[in-house]
Symmetry: C2
Subunit: 308 residues, 2 copies
C-alpha cells in the first residue's frame, strides 16, 4: 500500500504552477504582509494545530491497490456511523466489491446480490435500513467556522470538527454537505431504505443537489486515488456490467480493531483554530508568485483539509 | 475506442438513485406540472435543440485506451486556439505523453523534455508562447444565458455558445471558467509563458481560483474517463516520476483533418434555447421521485451539458 500522505501533498500542490517551472532567477524578497501562503502556514504550524484520527471513528477500506481511510462523523449521523461500524465488525463487506464508478459523480460499494434474497449477504448484528439522518439541530457546543463568501445552496457554510457543513440558522438545522471525498449511505427511493450497507464516495464536482437527500456519514482522508482511478462502469449509472469488472474489497475494518502497528498514523489539521482561519485567508487571496489574479473569495468545496 | 456517448449517459445518470432500485410497483401518474425532468426534456427535444461540433474547432486526443474529444473556444481564446490547431497540424504532440495526473485537480500533457533545449521537441509553424487570453470584452453579439442563483467567484455566470463563462458587467469583461473538463494552456510564472504546448484538463472539483490566471481554450465533451482514471503521479504536483509511468499520446488531430468516417459524430445540446432554460429549471428543482428535497438552486459547475 502506498503510504504517502496524498491528501496533504495534493493540497500543497494546489499552490504550484501548472507547468514545471523553468529555472528562475532568485525570487524577490518574500512579502512580509499577510496573508501568507498555505505552505508557509503549515510549515509554521504547532502540534496543537493538528488532531489525530480517533481509531474508533475511522474505517479502513482495503482494496487490492491500497487502503482508503475514512473519518466517520458520529456528531452528524450517529445511527448510521454505529451501523457502519457494526457492519465492519461483522465483516459484512469482506469479499464484496466495488459496484459502481460513474464519471464525475460517485463510486459505490456493497453486495452485488443485495436485491436477491437467496444470495444476499446476511446482516447479522447491524441493521439493513435506518431512518434518515439528513440534518440535525444546531448544537451551540459544536464548533462552526463559517466561510465568508456565501454559498449557492445554503444560507451558511463552514466547517465543524473537520467536516464541511451547511446551516440554516432560522430553521436551527445543520447538515453535512456533498463535497469531494464525502461518504454517504446509498438508498433506494424511500428515504428510510438506506442504512450503510451500500456506501458511496463523491469523486467529481461536488453534487450538492444531494444535500439533505442522502445520509452522509464521513469523509475520505487518504486514498482517494484508489477510488477515482477505478475504471468507469459502462452500465446504467456507472454500474459494472460483469462481475469480473468489479474491484474486490479485501476488508473494511474499524481502525480500533486493527493492530496499532498496521494503522495509518494520520493527523488532520484542526478546523477550529486561528491557523485554519489564516489558511482560509491564504486560499482566498493566493500570494504565490504564480497567481496573477487572486480571487478574493472561496467556495467551501475548494477549501483544503490538510492531512499529514 | 469506446464510442458510447458517456457525457450524455453520465449526465442522465445524475437523475438516478444512488442504489440500484429494487423492483418497484408501477409508478404513480407522471406529474403534469413543470419543471419536467431532464430525461423528459431530452426525450422531447427537437433537432434544432442540438448543434454539431465544428470539425475545424474540435481536437481529438488519441490515447491508448480511447479518444478524448475537445471542443475549442475560438470566441474566448482565438490566438491560443489557432496555435493549438497549428501545433496539432505539425504533429507536435504525437509520441509525447501525459506528464501529470494530480488527484482532484488536473491532468496535463506535453513534452517531458520541454525544459531541455537539446532534447525539446521543436515548434515549427506554431508559437511556443503567446500573450495571455484570460478574459475578453463583453460582446453583445455573443449569447449569454445567465444562471439565476449567483456564484461565489463572479458577479454573473452562465453559458455562452456551450461554454461556462463569468461576466463582470461593470468592467465589461467576460471569461471562460474552470469547471470539470475545461481545457487550458499551462504556463510558468510569467503570464505570457504559456501558449498551448502543455495543455491541462480539470478532473476534480472546479478549481475556480485559476479563473483569469490561465488561458482556457476548450472543453472535453467526450472521453473524460480516459483522463480521470490515469494513475496519479507520485512526484510533486502529480507529475510522473519515471518515463514509463507516462501514458503515451498516439496523436492529437484537428477533427477536420481526420477522414469523415473516423470522426466522432457528436451533437451538443444548444445553450441558447428555451429547452436549455427548461433544463436548468429541471436541475434546480429535481422532480425525480428519488429526490426528497429539491435544492431550488444550482451552481454553474453542476449544470449538465448533454452530448449525444
Amino acid at each position: 500500500m502506498k503510504s504517502s500522505p496524498l491528501c496533504l501533498v495534493a493540497s500543497l500542490l494546489l499552490l504550484a504552477p501548472l507547468v514545471v517551472p523553468a529555472a528562475e532567477p532568485p525570487p524577490a524578497p518574500v512579502k512580509a504582509a499577510p496573508p501568507a501562503t498555505m505552505a508557509e502556514l503549515l510549515a509554521a504550524s504547532q502540534p496543537a494545530d493538528w488532531r489525530a484520527l480517533d481509531p474508533e471513528n475511522t474505517l479502513y477500506l482495503e482494496l487490492t491497490n491500497g487502503r482508503v481511510v475514512i473519518e466517520l462523523a458520529p456528531a452528524y449521523a450517529p445511527r448510521h456511523v454505529a451501523n457502519v461500524k457494526a457492519l465492519a465488525r461483522e465483516h459484512y463487506w469482506d469479499g464484496l466489491a466495488m459496484l459502481r464508478a460513474q464519471e464525475n459523480y460517485v463510486v459505490q460499494w456493497g453486495d452485488p446480490d443485495a436485491e436477491k434474497p437467496a444470495l444476499a449477504r446476511p446482516v447479522k448484528t447491524a441493521q439493513r435500513t435506518l431512518p434518515p439522518e439528513f440534518e440535525r439541530a444546531v448544537d451551540p457546543g459544536l464548533p462552526f467556522v463559517r466561510l465568508p463568501d456565501g454559498d449557492v445552496y445554503a444560507p451558511e457554510v463552514g466547517f465543524s470538527a473537520g467536516f464541511p457543513v451547511a446551516r440554516d440558522p432560522r430553521a436551527g438545522k445543520t447538515w453535512l454537505i456533498h463535497t469531494y471525498g464525502m461518504v454517504g449511505a446509498g438508498r433506494d427511493e424511500a428515504v428510510d431504505s438506506g442504512g450503510g450497507t451500500e456506501l458511496y464516495v463523491c469523486i467529481g464536482q461536488a453534487p450538492r443537489q444531494l444535500d439533505r437527500n442522502v445520509t452522509l456519514l464521513g469523509r475520505v482522508v487518504q486514498g482517494m486515488e484508489w477510488l477515482t482511478t477505478l475504471p468507469r462502469g459502462t452500465a446504467a449509472m456507472g454500474f459494472y456490467q460483469l462481475p469480473a469488472q468489479r474491484a474486490p474489497i479485501k476488508s473494511v475494518r474499524v481502525a480500533a480493531d486493527v493492530p496499532p502497528a498496521e494503522r495509518s498514523a494520520l493527523e488532520l489539521l484542526r478546523t477550529d483554530t486561528p491557523l485554519f482561519q489564516q489558511l482560509i485567508a491564504a486560499r482566498r487571496n493566493r500570494r504565490e508568485a504564480w497567481y496573477h489574479y487572486p480571487a478574493g473569495r472561496i467556495d467551501i468545496s475548494a477549501v483544503p483539509l490538510p492531512v499529514r
